[in-house]
């Protein structure tokens, strides 16, 4: 019983980890992407559509990643190419992505696919407690590896250093001869691919079907997660598991016939996010950890 719970928590955390890690890299470079929700939905619908059409989960995953990248490219065109307001552009992307995914997905409502297989042989799951950790699929395991690689990239490589510098002081980075825009483009595309993969995980693994708006605000929670983790990759995993746990409590509670209204339990992730945000801001240390040039558009003529 508890194994099933652990497994569900881990699986629920995966899309959060993927999306938040991507967004962390984007924000470290100095860009705020509020369009995560829209990118994830585009990833979800593309993954579902192509898996349904070709029967191949792999192509589905690829489609999710690519559509995330394309959506990110649109975002980058406006925010980096035309220096539009990052907050408003992100919102536009969410509205656009939600609408377009719904449009494309309307064909696929009600259709079903089989989800991702587990990586290890099925009977591993029977091992008490650890079994849960061994019953995940390849994407889930990859997400942990990705987080590690991102950490190595940001703190152990020169390119990662350049990216961090661009988020701290873009004009200083520019005067040192680094192309801030190039760095941000790469970050945004990476963030898009991660968002697309994260979105793809939803219909391919968590709930193998498509429905409009199936991300249910996970994109927004991922954004909160980045702040919660103080822009440090390692903390993203802890935060994601925490949020996953809270989300699961609602289902578990209903199953056990708790008298707490289901809507309250459903609202827990959102309330928890607010709580976390308050705690982080009140500690005051966020100032020194946040990339100081976050949301400042880079105007090369200055």
């Amino acid at each position: 019983m508890i194994d099933a719970l652990i497994l569900t928590i881990l699986m629920t955390s995966v899309p959060l980890v993927l999306a938040a890690t991507g967004e962390l890299v984007v924000e470290r470079s100095g860009v705020l992407n509020l369009g995560l929700e829209g990118m994830m939905l585009m990833g979800a619908v593309s993954a579902f559509a192509l898996t349904y059409a070709t029967g191949s989960l792999f192509i589905g995953l690829l489609a999710g990643i690519i559509s995330g990248a394309i959506t990110a490219a649109i975002f980058g065109f406006f925010v980096l190419g035309l220096a539009t307001n990052q907050v408003a552009t992100g919102l536009a992307l969410t509205i656009f992505g939600t609408g377009l995914s719904g449009l494309i997905g309307s064909e696929f409502v009600g259709k079903a696919i089989t989800g991702l297989p587990t990586l290890f042989p099925k009977h591993f799951a029977d091992i008490p407690f650890i079994g849960a950790f061994l019953s995940l699929d390849i994407v889930a395991y990859s997400s942990v590896i990705i987080v590690f690689l991102v950490w190595v990239f940001l703190f152990k490589t020169k390119t990662g250093l350049i990216l961090r510098a661009s988020g701290i002081s873009q004009y200083s980075a520019h005067s040192l001869g680094y192309s801030v825009l190039k760095v941000r483009w790469c970050a945004v595309l990476f963030g898009g691919m991660m968002a697309g993969l994260s979105g793809a995980y939803l219909p391919l693994m968590l709930t193998p079907h498509w429905s409009e708006g199936m991300t249910s605000g996970r994109g927004w929670i991922a954004l909160a997660l980045v702040v919660f983790a103080s822009w440090m990759p390692s903390r993203i995993i802890y935060g994601a598991i925490l949020f996953g746990t809270i989300t699961i409590m609602q289902l578990a509670g209903q199953a056990r016939g708790w008298t707490i209204p289901p809507q309250f339990l459903s609202s827990l992730p959102y309330l928890a996010t607010i709580f976390v945000l308050v705690v982080i801001s009140s500690r005051g240390s966020a100032k020194y950890l946040a990339p100081s040039d976050l949301t400042q558009p880079f105007i090369s003529s200055k």
Binding site: P261, L277, S301
Partner: protein, 364 residues
């Protein structure tokens, strides 16, 4: 790729042509999308843009649909002008409706002419309160208001859901999540034109919406408070130097826009639905963001902008019924329109040159 240089003066022609060009381009994109998806573009355009304007009662309904957009949009214009990102208008709208509804449902037998004004005040308080939360967190703890106000939207929606399925569910609704009907005194009636009668669904709330927009416009142009709003969005140091209190101004703007959103919620329910149900808003809080930008953050222009977006929404309904085009396509249009408006903003502020790495730029 693009090289941006700040313009010294913005030619007036840009300020007017940008919204118009954005609209036209969006329509072009629309034609493209329709064709790709295999719909008849001509018919689709007709249903989207002409059909809602084809009869006087449809035009009246356009105003009705624009009503919440205008009220919420104006409130958002105030906030955005001050660089305050109130993304939670949707939640504030819901809470306003809930507060007003609570009052109406508590006095089911009343005939009092004061019920409606009291509901209006209460809705303003409800929305204002819901906006107060992100505001005070921003002012005291510098918490990001975007995420907080957004999370609260989900909470508000779930709260309403619980109310109409639980404690406020009508015993006569056969298990459906609906409250009792409001008493007549709590409903907003349609406007009765002498000699003509009512036109479509046109109700008094529309009149209030237009009034609100005009009042806000006057306030922005002619009052010291309006100057304060413009200043706080421009420069914090100058704002403080001028002697204004940043925290107070931020809180006030948040509460006003939340209150207006709450008012819009109350009007929507009292004029169009008459009782509370899980879905009373159809993304008005988010759509109003686009309205605010389409109006180039000018309260008077919000009236036109609201009508235009309402046109897209009504068009979407019409197109879905007539041609089976999924309603979500309006999201695509709204998104594209906002993208184009933002690009247009850049065009008005900066001169764009497509030149490979040119560096001769004046310094200070």
């Amino acid at each position: 790729m693009f090289h941006l240089t700040l313009r010294k003066e913005t030619p007036l022609i840009f300020k007017v042509s940008v919204p118009i060009a954005s609209i036209l381009l969006t329509i072009l994109f629309g034609i493209f999308i329709f064709s790709v998806l295999g719909y008849d573009s001509g018919k689709a355009l007709y249903h989207f843009f002409i059909s809602p304007l084809s009869r006087i009662d449809r035009i009246a309904d356009l105003f009705v649909k624009a009503c919440p957009l205008m009220i919420v949009g104006t409130g958002l214009v105030l906030c955005f002008r001050a660089n305050i990102w109130n993304i939670g208008a949707e939640g504030q709208l819901i809470m306003g409706a809930v507060f007003a509804g609570g009052l109406a449902l508590s006095f089911p037998d009343t005939n009092s002419v004061w019920l409606l004004p009291a509901m209006a005040v209460l809705s303003f308080i409800g929305g204002g309160l819901w906006a107060f939360l992100p505001a005070i967190l921003k002012v005291r703890l510098r918490t990001n208001e975007i995420l907080v106000s957004l999370m609260l939207t989900y909470v508000a929606s779930l709260f309403l859901d619980w109310l109409v399925r639980g404690p406020w569910r009508s015993p006569t609704s056969f298990g459906f999540p609906l409250t009792n009907y409001y008493p007549d005194a709590g409903l907003i009636s349609k406007i009765n034109f002498p000699g003509i009668g009512t036109i479509g669904q046109l109700h008094w709330g529309v009149f209030i919406a237009i009034l609100v927009c005009l009042l806000c416009w006057f306030m922005m142009q002619k009052t010291v408070f309006g100057f304060q709003v413009k200043l706080v969005g421009d420069s914090h140091k100058a704002f403080r130097y001028s002697g204004f209190n940043e925290s107070k101004t931020t809180m006030m703007l948040f509460i006003i826009s939340g209150g207006l959103a709450g008012l819009a919620g109350m009007i929507e329910v009292s004029a169009n639905i008459g009782q509370l149900q899980p879905n009373i808003s159809f993304g008005y809080g988010f759509t109003a963001i686009i309205v605010a930008f389409l109006a180039r953050l000018n309260p008077a222009a919000v009236i036109l902008a609201g009508l235009l977006i309402a046109l897209i929404e009504m068009g979407g309904d019409s197109a879905q019924i007539a041609l089976a085009i999924p309603k979500v396509v309006t999201g695509v249009f709204k998104g594209i329109l906002l993208f184009l408006l933002l690009a247009g903003e850049t065009l008005t502020k900066y001169q764009i040159n497509v030149k490979p790495r040119q560096r001769s730029v004046p310094n200070d």
